[in-house]
Point group: C2
Chain length 663, copies 2
Amino acid sequence: MFLNKLLRDGDNEDLAEERRKATFDTDEMAAIIWEGKEVRFVRRRREITKKVIEYTELHDPFCQAFMTRHEEVENAARKVNSVEILKSFCNNYLIFSKTHTQCFSEVIGMYGHPLALHAVMFIPSLQAQCADDQMHWLKKAMSRQIIGTYAQTELGHGTNLRKLETTATYDVKTQEFVLHSPTRTAMKWWPGNLGKSANHAVVVACLIIDGKNYGPHNFIVPLRDPATHMPLKGITVGDIGPKMATGPVDNGFLSFDHYRIPRTNMLMKHAKVTPEGKYVPPAHAKVGYSAMVHVRSHMISDQAKFLAQALTTAIRYSAIRRQGEIQPGDGEVKILEYQTQQYRLLPQLARAYAFSFTGRAVRDLYLRVQKDVAKGKVDEMAELHYITSGLKAVVTHLTGEGISQARMSCGGHGYSKASNMPDLYGIAVAGCTYEGENMVMLQQLARYLMRAAKEAEKGRALGRLVNYLVEPSDIHSTHLKAFDKAAKLQVMKAFERMRSLRAQGLSDEDAWNANAVELNRAARVHTRQYIAHQFYEQVSSVADGRCREVLRDLLHLHLNYELLDMAYYLLEDGFLSGQQVDYMKEDMYRLLAKLRPNAVSLVDSWDISDHELRSVLGRRDGHVYENLYKWAQESELNRTQVLPTFEKYLKPMMMEARAQSKL
Amino acid sequence: MFLNKLLRDGDNEDLAEERRKATFDTDEMAAIIWEGKEVRFVRRRREITKKVIEYTELHDPFCQAFMTRHEEVENAARKVNSVEILKSFCNNYLIFSKTHTQCFSEVIGMYGHPLALHAVMFIPSLQAQCADDQMHWLKKAMSRQIIGTYAQTELGHGTNLRKLETTATYDVKTQEFVLHSPTRTAMKWWPGNLGKSANHAVVVACLIIDGKNYGPHNFIVPLRDPATHMPLKGITVGDIGPKMATGPVDNGFLSFDHYRIPRTNMLMKHAKVTPEGKYVPPAHAKVGYSAMVHVRSHMISDQAKFLAQALTTAIRYSAIRRQGEIQPGDGEVKILEYQTQQYRLLPQLARAYAFSFTGRAVRDLYLRVQKDVAKGKVDEMAELHYITSGLKAVVTHLTGEGISQARMSCGGHGYSKASNMPDLYGIAVAGCTYEGENMVMLQQLARYLMRAAKEAEKGRALGRLVNYLVEPSDIHSTHLKAFDKAAKLQVMKAFERMRSLRAQGLSDEDAWNANAVELNRAARVHTRQYIAHQFYEQVSSVADGRCREVLRDLLHLHLNYELLDMAYYLLEDGFLSGQQVDYMKEDMYRLLAKLRPNAVSLVDSWDISDHELRSVLGRRDGHVYENLYKWAQESELNRTQVLPTFEKYLKPMMMEARAQSKL
């Protein structure tokens, strides 16, 4: 019995050979990754896969890559409807339940569907904002009597929400709000499913009473006729057109022409407007960061999975692709034998694990802090907000780079949509922009770090996460101490530079802007220090000995790789010598070679089914070439042997030339 | 009269304000970039644009982003047919003529068309390989009596050409070659236009006579019936399916089932097979690298233009997008005011210029060396081959990263296909893989560098390009000296490590592989050193004083930015101190601020017309928002107000839920 549990008879022998080399049980590792604690959970995931494969209604009639956008949208609508069949397996709209996520991931993938925003944004907004007498909206949404989305971003404003232009003016005579888009840039733009699917939206608009602007508030707004789905009078709504990826999602635009809704359509759990037009501010101060922190902590885990998917494809393919010889005459080798290929892929694999462990750590921290908040202890929530901002920026950026490397490591075939790499990249990098543009995220963390630096000067730690600015960690890892040092150096350097810019006469704001690049550096190094610590801690707590051993190697590869990438900070200060850097490099090369025999098993452990992976190159059985050919034969251009372009353009062109040649 | 020549009445005022700040004449700069020497050439480019705008047959009926793949292919076929109208403006198939390129760029863009490979690969192959009595093939190709492509890459082999599996076995009885694909992996895969457009191909197959394999040779092969376009008997041909980009190109597969062609279809300019089946080897040794060097030197310039296009969009948009305040109460600022945005874009802009100047330098070097080769002096051709390999790898990689940064700097709107950024990225990064995978390219240069290091140990320079390994350059630039030093350090370090690995008992080949990452580093640093020198030299020779001045700032930004990115090498060695690095940083921040007022004019100077740029965000007039809305209204999903998914899936779902709620 081999330790890699994905080994099957009839597989590509090159891949089977890799799997037989596993030094750890891949099901045990899968249980660690998916937090099943026991292998039982891993089996449950596979049952879902099996069910999905059984119900052909849940399949794509042909590969999405060959679909027009109309077909993509329709296919997603059909599937999301059929997914009800699997209701017995997952709680309806328990969005973050693991089995539900797994089921959606199998059926829909990461491509989106007409009810995506309904589940992820519309229902949570109503849950958070409906007053007691508004709960009928939530009921309608939960039971799918209406389809909704959340409309905040406008054509002209995404980051700076205070400048949103849509207005909701209270008309005391009719007790209605008049929604209006005063300019072109006021048009709502981007909300998912707003274009064609939703008939309702939670709309963010500036509340105006008696000419006074009370800032952004939330309103529940009917957009389309419930029977005909035609836009209601005063509403202009449509699709914003194709994007880099997520074709099945109808991101939309929306503008209002003096469109009236009843006063009671303002969501009044917090702020209120009385019938007489009196504004009642929220009883408590702004609830704050909770929702953002929640979404961003889930983004970390999602990005880890995107990266793992790309590496599953790239590493399996690298084990079946043979190209070139290392020893002349010894035959062509698997491209995974090349050090350059190992260097391209294994540190990225280590990151996938690191991000996954970090995502989990942040989520657990969130759950703990949320309990504290319930008891009135709110200070840690801010700290958590800042670190998730930094993580969101760093993890999405590095994931994009990692997928890009994984794609290129597959050579030409990685460029084909058969690899699924192009879509995977397109979907992952969207995360660099949504839920807070990365540069802005880093600046947020930097603000916290500058406050921390100020405290550190006085010998005080602002919070647990910046304790390293004040006193050395008690962890016995020279690597982690180096991360601490690098982060401290850059944080304090940015702080000093700020002071010196102000001393040169710049205002606080101008000094901040003139220091923004250094501040972002500080935020990045701090975040990478945080990830390193999380990875280290979680590996230490792994119970299974064989899994822990290989994870330790992966951890050390990660620590060496990241430190080398940041060596600059430590060399500049003299903390590291050139010799020490060389030593880390040698250690990294040693670890590449040591991890290489477990490479396939380390991606297999993510237990991503073929159905979910949607990659001909990454197939579990390794039978890539014959299936590439099968896939291509279904290409939309192969539906006829001769395209109309021949009769229309190519034939006349050639005929004329042939006739001319006979003159 | 303002110096920026793209300023027009009625433009977005934020953009006009930028243009009025130009400190140099943008037409003069355009003449430098496009090597017009005089502004007259710039005017000629604009005439082409004007003609293209006049002939509506050359336009897309609607944006390509809204097209199905069938529509994309048909549209490209129609346009390439119509481009004949512009014949008077450009020599037919003088591929690398500047006006011709410009015309194609305006009409087709970078997306490809059914005759792309015909022009770029099929005709040049025939030119290089047809014997005197085979010139009728070239004539037919030139006049377009036939449409061809070049079929080399197979499903199983791209990089390692010696292992191509397609065979051409000589049958002396019938005086024919029998083309055959013995395995699935032998199938030709990837050649552009092979799938649906070409009816002929130059096919690379292993020549077999009397059971002896003479290795890859070229054959001209009819694939489809000239009248019906149906594949000929023994031929299986089709489209390989959609890719990351280049939808209009029908990359194809092709396999042979004992398909016979006359002996005379082997291209016999060099090697020959007599009717009796005697193999006559080429009279001269292999012609070598010439074609590859030519193509790669053009790739450098193309990539520079891709990057410039992305920056044209990103920098113009950054001047019209206002978001957030720097000084509270002073109003929202252009996002170009943020240092982080400048840092994201301006060093990339410097790279676009650097790559453009380097591409030109390499092309000129190629032309000179080619003349030498004609006189029998071949030694410099090898050197040129190696440096173009390195340039191809470094420039394509950095261009991909630059476009990605440019896209993200546009926030959400950069993710929309309205920005054209997704396609631009997809097309540019293909260059990392085609014409030699980047890792393989770096390894090639590294082989040369290791030979150079061996010579350098003995105090000898292997060639002009590695002279810095032996003696210091006489250029009075401390920056360039630092580049030389960094390159020398890493080249010698990789060389030493190789020696030490061999001393540990590794074979030459295993030592090479165990050192591959360090070797690639050496190749990269050497290449960046080369680019820095080219940029420096070409800026020094600019005649126009005002252009030279701003180019000098751009050059210094480039030198600082690149050196900081490579500071690691210099800090490790102690060549640079932490203080010196800090000084370079300060200089870089100063240059960002200094260049910022010219940023728009520096992209305007690339003189890329709106028609060619195909980006709503990058429009010359800056009227972005209203045109984003116009663009979106044409989205394929907006052709009807209500999609069929409503009646089919969404309505039944909601109706059932509403009915349930009344129970």
